[in-house]
């Protein structure tokens, strides 16, 4: 166990960090906001943490926290700026914003280390810290998917006009979502920088958009659990797929394409769909003898979903 842990520590760290990054896109998506600003926030967090750690030797919590605050504020301002955009236009505007930050980093001179980036951001951040922070974030997000919080976000995504008529301030929800997305992205970026002790413009490019999006799409966009499934798959896939060798990228592309076309709600969506079907079948059985046979079948997926904390977990009485 210990041996295994040590030899896979980088992958374990990577799983949690890319999960946070994926969540910075998934949280807006759940509210129907197609924003990639989380990628830009990742860059903000990564560079803020590196600069503060190298120049001021601050504690990791300060270095990461500062990036989170800056990115959250930037997210709020961005939300005000792009308030009138939606759909693809919003997506492209936020991609442009994020990639612009990468160019900014290249041209930041001594502050950002130009094209070579910054080195030597040594800190006391450990894998345990990363896991703790991620778990706290997951608990908060899982709560936001339940009860009235979850219902209201669902309404904003599925039918903004209906949400308004239900007394939900849709614009405020959208602004909040930008702030949360900024904080999550910056947290991921800051932690990654401090663990790797280095950051450069290449590490904050377009490939992060691809990575985050594919994790969400393959895992399932409507819950944190989907992002978690995606993060695990795509962080570990390369090491599992070593037998494919150089064709790893190809397999990756094919998986993403198939998921996007044929499994739009991701693996989590498949699980939920299966659960609903089982439940429906169980209900149609006449009361009495037959339902006894159906009961144990229905129990299993219920527990499975409850463990994942998917949105249907609360749908039962």
């Amino acid at each position: 166990m210990n041996q295994w842990y040590l030899s896979h520590e980088i992958l374990i760290q990577g799983t949690f960090i890319s999960l946070l990054l994926a969540l910075s896109i998934q949280v807006p998506l759940r509210a129907g906001v197609f924003s990639f600003a989380g990628i830009g926030s990742y860059a903000i967090g990564a560079y803020t943490a590196a600069i503060l750690t190298i120049r001021e030797q601050v504690a990791p919590v300060v270095a990461i926290g500062a990036g989170v605050l800056i990115a959250a504020a930037a997210g709020y301002l961005l939300a005000l700026l792009v308030a009138r955009l939606s759909g693809l236009y919003l997506g492209m505007a936020t991609i442009a914003f994020s990639l612009f930050l990468g160019v900014l980093a290249t041209n930041g001179g001594d502050l950002t280390g130009g094209a070579t980036g910054l080195f030597g951001a040594l800190s006391t951040l450990t894998t345990a810290h990363v896991i703790t922070i991620t778990v706290l974030v997951l608990v908060a997000l899982a709560a936001s998917e339940r009860g009235s919080f979850g219902r209201r976000v669902d309404a904003v995504r599925e039918d903004p006009q209906l949400a308004v008529s239900m007394g939900i301030d849709v614009n405020r929800v959208r602004r909040r979502v930008f702030v949360i997305s900024g904080a999550l992205g910056a947290c991921a970026g800051g932690m990654n920088t401090l663990l790797r002790t280095t950051v450069s413009p290449e590490t904050v490019g377009f490939h992060l958009v691809v990575t985050a999006l594919t994790m969400i799409i393959v895992g399932g966009a409507l819950s944190w659990a989907g992002a978690a499934i995606g993060a695990v798959i795509f962080t570990w896939l390369p090491s599992v797929l070593q037998f494919v060798g150089e064709w790893q990228l190809l397999v990756y592309g094919i998986v993403v394409a198939i998921a996007a076309v044929y499994v739009p709600n991701g693996l989590l969506g498949l699980l939920q769909e299966g659960w609903r079907r089982l439940r429906r079948r169980g209900r149609r059985l006449p009361a009495g003898g037959a339902s006894v046979a159906a009961a144990p079948v229905a129990e299993d997926p219920e527990e499975k979903l409850a463990a994942l904390g998917g949105p249907t977990a609360e749908a039962r009485s």
Partner: protein, 267 residues
């Protein structure tokens, strides 16, 4: 957020003006969907809006609920202009509505869809409690009972018949315990017994003091249910008054009704 705890129907003096529009108009480019409508909604009464398809009834409802921007005119709630109030605030001030089409959230169960209606009145503490233990607040239970959707609570909207889905929508609107309920063709797609049931429900709610604005195609139901009717055609006001008089008005008959409604009103 939860300032309007006290808007459960408290039956103020029936007949006082709750909601009023003055010269309300909604134009889309050259199209005058609504053009200069004055209406008065009195507390504890049902005002029906009658008119052929495309006469601007639903747009008027949109304008009154601020989901459609006004081109001209004023909208007053308790005598106070709310033309600049953010539309989401209106729900907090006790206005609830349904839509012309079924608009239930597909990934929530019927129960959760109805709960969505009561969420705006949910105290902060109850929201947090709900994360741990699922609770169905009383207004929701009451709305479920009144609309008779108790046996479909665990189904998803996609599994419901059209008529049932419409009743769930009414339940969702009622779950917010509104002061004013606006219904856009609530019985569309329902069979006759279901229609009578809904009409009876609306009348009972009225008798308990709930003010209603009703847009409906079923003229018989309008005559039976409403206290007053306002007839529209091509965005304009055509006739107004007691239901029996309005459906007999020659202009109204010409615009919309067949002769047979003469008999309906005489009955």
């Amino acid at each position: 957020m939860t300032t309007s705890q006290d808007t459960a129907p408290t039956s103020p003096a029936t007949g006082t003006t709750v909601l009023q529009t003055i010269d309300v108009a909604v134009h889309y480019g050259g199209i005058k969907a609504v053009d200069g409508i004055d209406l008065v909604l009195e507390s504890g009464r049902i005002l029906g809006i009658l008119g052929p398809n495309g006469s601007g009834k639903s747009t008027l409802l949109g304008a009154v609920t601020r989901l459609v921007p006004l081109t001209r005119g004023r909208v007053l709630l308790d005598g106070e202009d709310y033309g600049r109030t953010p539309p989401a605030r209106l729900a907090h001030r006790g206005i609830a509505r349904t839509f012309q089409t079924v608009r239930l959230l597909p990934d929530l169960t019927v129960r959760e869809n109805i709960q969505l209606g009561s969420d705006l009145k949910l105290p902060r503490a109850a929201r947090w409690r709900e994360l741990v233990r699922r609770a169905v607040p009383e207004p929701v239970t009451e709305a479920i009972e009144r609309t008779g959707v108790g046996d479909v609570l665990d189904l998803f909207p996609g599994e419901l018949s059209y008529g049932t889905a419409r009743r769930v929508e009414i339940a969702r609107a009622l779950a917010s315990r509104p002061r004013v309920l606006m219904l856009d063709e609530p019985t569309a797609g329902m069979n006759q017994p279901e229609r009578l049931e809904v009409a009876g429900l609306l009348r009972r709610l009225r008798d308990e003091g709930l003010t209603q604005l009703l847009v409906e195609h079923d003229v018989q139901m309008m005559v039976d249910t409403c206290d007053r009717l306002l007839a529209m055609n091509q965005g304009r006001h055509v006739a107004e008054g007691a239901p029996a008089d309005v459906v007999r008005d020659p202009t109204v008959q010409e615009a919309y009704l067949g002769k047979r409604w003469n008999r309906a009103a005489d009955r």
